[in-house]
């Protein structure tokens, strides 16, 4: 008795091929999704109560990040500016602008402005600004060219890979700590960065071998 029909072998091969194609397609779609901006939220802006522009305040006016994000050197959080900080200028500049009405209302009522976050980590990751700033990791390494953002967006995918790529080889990313808020480093050649980085690694006793152990970021 014949168990398999004459075409069985063909069907089997076709089935295998179809299965392979399906797996490949799933991997492609899945991989694409994992790296897509939809998941990592890179480049997304969010509606804010006040359309605050870093391009205007940092790029055009040249205000230092620390004027508003005061605790970035001393604490885990950089801090978002309280209404008082906006009013140091906007008590006199653009006082009637409808765009700034929520800021004036916030000052009058004492109710803080609600900013919708764009650069945030999951709660299970521990991050600390002060040590990065102290060692000379510039804001631009993680937040991109903030001075060119009319509305703030996330410049880098805050995936584990992003942190680890640097933690395993921080040298080329280190800069003079007193210039961390500088955005444009185009005048630093790769060699200069590498040489400066190696010296900084020795000065601060940075150990890449320790920096990729899980408990540093997941505690």
């Amino acid at each position: 008795m014949q168990i398999f029909s004459p075409s069985a072998d063909t069907w089997f091969r076709a089935g295998l091929a179809a299965f392979a194609v399906l797996v490949a397609a799933l991997a492609l779609v899945g991989g694409g999704y994992a790296r897509s901006e939809y998941l990592t939220q890179v480049g997304w802006t969010r509606d804010q109560q006040v359309p605050f522009s870093h391009k205007h305040h940092v790029g055009d006016l040249g205000i230092d990040c620390r004027y508003c994000h005061t605790s970035v050197e001393t604490a885990t959080r950089a801090g978002l500016p309280p209404t008082h900080t906006c009013m140091t200028c906007h008590s006199q500049v653009w006082t009637g602008a409808p765009m700034l009405a929520p800021v004036r209302k916030s000052l009058a009522t004492g109710e803080p402005l609600h900013w919708r976050r764009v650069a945030q980590l999951p709660d299970y990751v521990y991050f600390d600004h002060s040590i990065h700033v102290d060692r000379g990791v510039a804001c631009v390494e993680c937040h991109g060219r903030v001075d060119r953002m009319p509305l703030t967006w996330r410049a880098k995918a805050f995936e584990m890979k992003f942190c680890l790529d640097c933690h395993r080889d921080p040298a080329p990313h280190l800069r003079p700590p007193e210039q961390v808020t500088r955005m444009d480093w185009s005048d630093w050649s790769e060699d200069r960065a590498e040489a400066f980085g190696m010296a900084a690694m020795r000065r601060f006793h940075v150990e890449p071998a320790r920096l990729d152990s899980c408990e540093i970021c997941h505690r």
């Binding site: 004027y67 005061t70 008082h84 140091t88 200028c89 006199q92």
Partner: protein
């Protein structure tokens, strides 16, 4: 069959909770409070735990090169937008409509004490807001020392403010 499916569902469920854990982080919403924010302002009359240390830090530190360097950096962050790098008051914010601050090189401010600069930063002065929330006492003394150094430079009358980045 059911067990792995249930397992997957459970793990997937957990995943969400780990990303947004049942705790309040700074800047998060908190329906518990009237203003809906997790971060609270301290109630009226609260005394900071390290108040004595803070009071001690309001003493004027001894002059040193490090103090001046610190003052220069802090002045660059908090004062330059208005008072300008050279202390003339020709900063970018006055250029956009903020009242023009007085020139640090005027006779009156050359005669003023460092304590006066310190107090201006602590309490504000006229239309200038206080910087006490962002410039701690030691840095205020550092900035005051740096203003003194600026005043000693005797800039020419017809100077212009150098562009940012120079």
């Amino acid at each position: 069959m059911v067990v792995p499916i249930l397992g997957c569902a459970l793990v997937a469920g957990c995943g969400k909770n780990m990303v947004q854990q049942a705790r309040y982080d700074p800047y998060e919403k908190a329906p518990l409070f009237e203003d809906g924010m997790a971060m609270r302002a301290p109630p009226e009359g609260v005394v900071s735990r390290d108040a004595p240390q803070r009071r001690a830090a309001t003493q004027r530190p001894a002059m040193s090169a490090a103090l001046l360097a610190r003052g220069r950096e802090r002045y660059g962050i908090y004062c330059v937008p208005c008072h300008a790098r050279d202390g003339s008051g020709n900063g970018i914010v006055p250029a956009r409509g903020f009242p023009h601050p007085p020139d640090f090189h005027s006779e009156r401010l050359k005669a003023a004490s460092e304590r006066h600069f310190y107090d201006v930063m602590t309490q504000g002065y006229g239309v200038m807001y206080a910087y006490a929330d962002r410039v701690p006492p030691r840095d205020r003394w550092a900035i005051a020392a740096y203003i003194r150094a600026l005043q000693a430079t005797n800039l020419p009358e017809d100077r212009t403010e150098p562009r940012r980045g120079d």
